[in-house]
């Protein structure tokens, strides 16, 4: 017999350890909330950007694309598409979909109005100005 191993102690350590690390996590979350204003580009959250985010969501863009690396990996990263392609290209691209090229991946046409396109572009511009610790490694995303 090299020692004791009791269920009650294992249980106490589970509850204690969980509470401990959850509190630690909350402390870090609290600090993050304080630090975010310097990084998250909130000063540029205009009405257009907010409207653009909603268009982004209601067209389920994340189902093919990634944004800051999160989402699906079927189509290009869009967190930095604004500096990569520029606003006019983005709008023209959206309007010319789908390409219909046989065998190629297809993007639906969402029939966005000019205003909606501008909002979406504003959202993508705002997203590209978030401080992401220099991610992605290069402009191709």
């Amino acid at each position: 017999m090299s020692g004791i191993f009791s269920k009650a102690m294992a249980r106490n350590i589970f509850y204690g350890g969980t509470v401990f690390f959850f509190l630690l996590f909350l402390a870090l979350v609290y600090d993050t909330e304080r630090e975010l204003p310097t990084r998250d580009n909130r000063q540029n959250l205009s009405a257009e950007v907010i409207a653009g985010k909603k268009i982004w969501e209601t067209r389920n863009c994340i189902g093919c694309h990634s944004l800051l690396g999160e989402g699906a990996y079927f189509a290009p990263e869009l967190g930095n598409v604004y500096p990569r392609r520029g606003p006019e290209f983005i709008k023209a691209w959206m309007q010319s979909q789908p390409t219909g090229a046989p065998g190629r991946r297809q993007m639906p046409n969402f029939h966005l109005s000019d205003e909606e396109l501008d909002n979406l572009v504003a959202f993508l511009k705002y997203s590209s100005e978030i401080n992401t610790a220099n991610w992605p490694p290069n402009i191709e995303g």
């Binding site: 017999m1 004791i4 009791s6 102690m9 350590i13 204690g16 401990f20 630690l24 600090d31 630090e35």
Partner: protein, 200 residues
């Protein structure tokens, strides 16, 4: 027959018998914690290698006196905990609870000094994002600080237990488990202090 039962009742000589003081569950937990701290310490050291001058300069600005005093407080608390365990092992529950109280006073002293140190640091704009050194300084000491607080909670539980006469020879698991955790908190600080406050 009689010989056999007599042998079973006589404990084996202690030296010949290995025994882990404290519950196996806490030792697994301690190992996991030590691993996390060990990786964190190494991360500090390897990051320092890239920013030697910054680390050395900002390290000089820390309160070494407070750090050293805190080391002494933790060591004393650990010593008191040892005495508390020893007292409980000779049926001296009252003495044991007094030693534990002493350990908690030392722990509280650590916490007060640490809060003072943090207050001064925050006033100077030190934050997790202000520099790599500050990131590690705050992360490591705060992670440890929370361990001290948890250790205090455990010591308080032991104190109540000791006063209720819960620990005695043959029934030391709770006390030894709590003691092992507290010593771990001490052990980690014995690396943290020279590493973060002194070595450059």
């Amino acid at each position: 027959m009689n010989t056999a039962s007599a042998t079973a009742l006589t404990p084996a000589p202690p030296a010949a018998q290995y025994r882990l003081a404290g519950d196996l569950a806490i030792w697994i937990f301690i190992l996991a914690e030590l691993l996390a701290f060990g990786v964190f310490f190494s991360a500090y050291a390897f990051t320092r290698a890239h920013h030697v001058e910054l680390f050395d300069a900002e390290q000089r600005a820390l309160h070494r006196d407070v750090g050293a005093l805190n080391t002494a407080l933790l060591l004393t608390a650990s010593y008191f905990v040892v005495r508390a365990v020893q007292a409980a092992e000779r049926f001296a529950a009252r003495a044991s609870s007094h030693w534990l109280l002493g350990a908690m006073v030392c722990g509280a002293g650590f916490i007060v000094l640490k809060l003072f140190e943090y207050g001064a640091a925050f006033d100077q704009g030190v934050s997790l994002s202000s520099s790599p050194f500050h990131m590690f300084y705050l992360s490591l000491t705060f992670f440890h600080f929370m361990h001290v607080i948890l250790g205090m909670v455990i010591l308080a539980a032991l104190w109540f237990g000791a006063r209720a006469g819960r620990y005695q020879p043959g029934d030391m698991n709770g006390m030894e488990t709590g003691a092992a955790y507290w010593h771990m908190v001490d052990l980690v600080w014995l690396i943290l202090f020279p590493l973060v406050y002194v070595i450059h």
